[in-house]
């Protein structure tokens, strides 16, 4: 489950940034972002945890660059940054999971962690959505992405509540 969430986070972060840059026609930048995403996925496969630091810095710098100099749509940049943060977090969480003795123990810890991460993602996306609405840029693509993230996050939270009860 953690691996799926990690890959999803990388895809979400890199995809959002690439989409944001692509929207304004910076294709060269888009290609580099996608290439970086591919390298990050390779690093996940190779378990190079140090690469997650680079990934987080890259995502935030790319988002800041877009917001500062190019005046991009804030939603996609926020989504890119949040994706990077989640991927960074999950990389190290995946490493900590080596202590789990059984699948049951692993699932319990995974659920608790993913709930918190989901809450963070939902909060972040809510915040970005407000920014998009304020800028009158809340379009179909953004709504779709927000819906996917919300659905995944709420699923985690609901399953956690069900386990607790």
């Amino acid at each position: 489950m953690t691996l799926f969430a990690l890959i999803f986070s990388i895809a979400l972060g890199i995809g959002s940034l690439a989409w944001g840059y692509d929207q304004v026609g910076l294709l060269q930048f888009t290609r580099w972002i996608i290439l970086f995403g591919a390298v990050w996925l390779f690093a996940v496969w190779q378990r190079w945890r140090w690469f997650a630091y680079m990934g987080l810095v890259f995502n935030f710098l790319a988002a800041a660059f877009g917001l500062w100099f190019l005046n991009f749509t804030p939603g996609w940049m926020f989504a890119g940054a949040i994706g990077g943060l989640m991927a960074w977090d999950l990389t190290f969480f995946r490493h900590r999971l080596r202590f789990a003795a059984s699948d049951e123990e692993r699932r319990a810890v995974e659920t608790r962690h993913l709930v918190r991460i989901s809450l963070l993602a939902i909060l972040g996306f809510g915040f970005a959505s407000v920014a998009m609405i304020l800028k009158l840029q809340f379009n179909f693509e953004w709504a779709l992405l927000s819906a996917i993230v919300a659905a995944l996050g709420i699923t985690q939270i609901v399953s956690w509540f069900r386990r607790r009860s």
Partner: protein
Amino acid sequence: MSRTWFLGSLILFLLLAGLVALRGTLVALAIPLLLYLLYGLWFGPNDVRLEVQRDLSAERVAPQTPVKVRVTITNRGDDLEELALEDVIDPVLTVQDGSNHHLISLSKNKGFVFEYTMSGPRGGFPLETVHVEAGDHLGVLRTIQDVRTFGQLFVFPTVARLKQVPIRPRRTRVYAGTIPARVGGTGIEFFGVREYQDGDSPRHINWRVSARSAENLYANEFQQERVADVGIVLDGRERSNLFIGRHSLFEHSVLAAASLADTFLARGDRVGLLVYSRYLQWTWPGYGKLQRERILHALSRAMPGVSQIFDGLQYLPTRMFPPESQIVLVSPLVEDDYSTLIQLRARGYQVLVVSPDPVTFEEDHLPRRTAEYSNSEIRLAARVIRMERSLMLKRIQRAGIQVMDWNVAQPFDQAARRAFARQIQAGSRL
């Protein structure tokens, strides 16, 4: 750099960038990071105080015997959202059932108990640390501790029971035992005839000899049986002990030393042990069950090693053995050990050499065919080396040293019974 500092630096950069560019969106970009960091700081543990107790089902076991370990952790500090635990064990020990590491949440004043079963090869294993990593769920603040506990596991070498080991040192101790002392007195073995004295049992009167004398009676005298000093020397030099993959001839030597020590102590002898390895590990001579424990502890920790000083047996500290006592050397032997053994004999020690056969051991563990040599070439080489070894053992025997050449494919007790029975039958004078 810790995760907290890293996140803090990134937040600071974004805030400064936002202020420089006068863009609220850049400042807003720092909010997810700030939320993440605040969560970690809020829920991170301030006070990590854990009590650990470890119980073992047995502290002294035979090799590969399962030992059940029960670890109880009690949290005396703050609530711990994420607690990673690892009961640190030696890498050579294998966990057979359960797990020695866990990832849990532990509330204040709550306990957590886990069990696992482990086993391992011969050795002494301290169990002194439980590694603990406590933190919030996001892992922002992490406290790493090694909680000290007291515990140890001794995996003793297997002890084979030997019925008898025929040693006959020149000097014995005063206590009654089983070794013929070359002194007349009470015993079983006939020693001589002397004039009858007051207090002698009439049953001991030798009537045949007395009949030849008109005046005196003569009585049989028996050889006294006493305990002796036995010094066991275990050869742990790496150059004499072969290692083929995970198999080592040293393990067989340890088994032989343990069995011999057990046999000597069981019949009342005073036994000391010297492990001649990278350094000298000496267990002072003693009697009884306590000494058995000491020797088994020493043997469980014995490891082969390399040392320039103790490369040859010439530095064997003979002064540590009482004069004219019995020395038992457990060694595969190398060519230049011959002169040391002769010197020991010349100083009046009775020497018994138990020699695990390295040639057969190596031949048994070699791959059937290697890239360089064919089977017939390997067989021929083994034959030549075996002849050399056999010649050396014969020379040692001719010097009055008792030798047991042991093919380690055979159990030690069986091989010893056969070898020593032959020596007893042959009436070898020691």
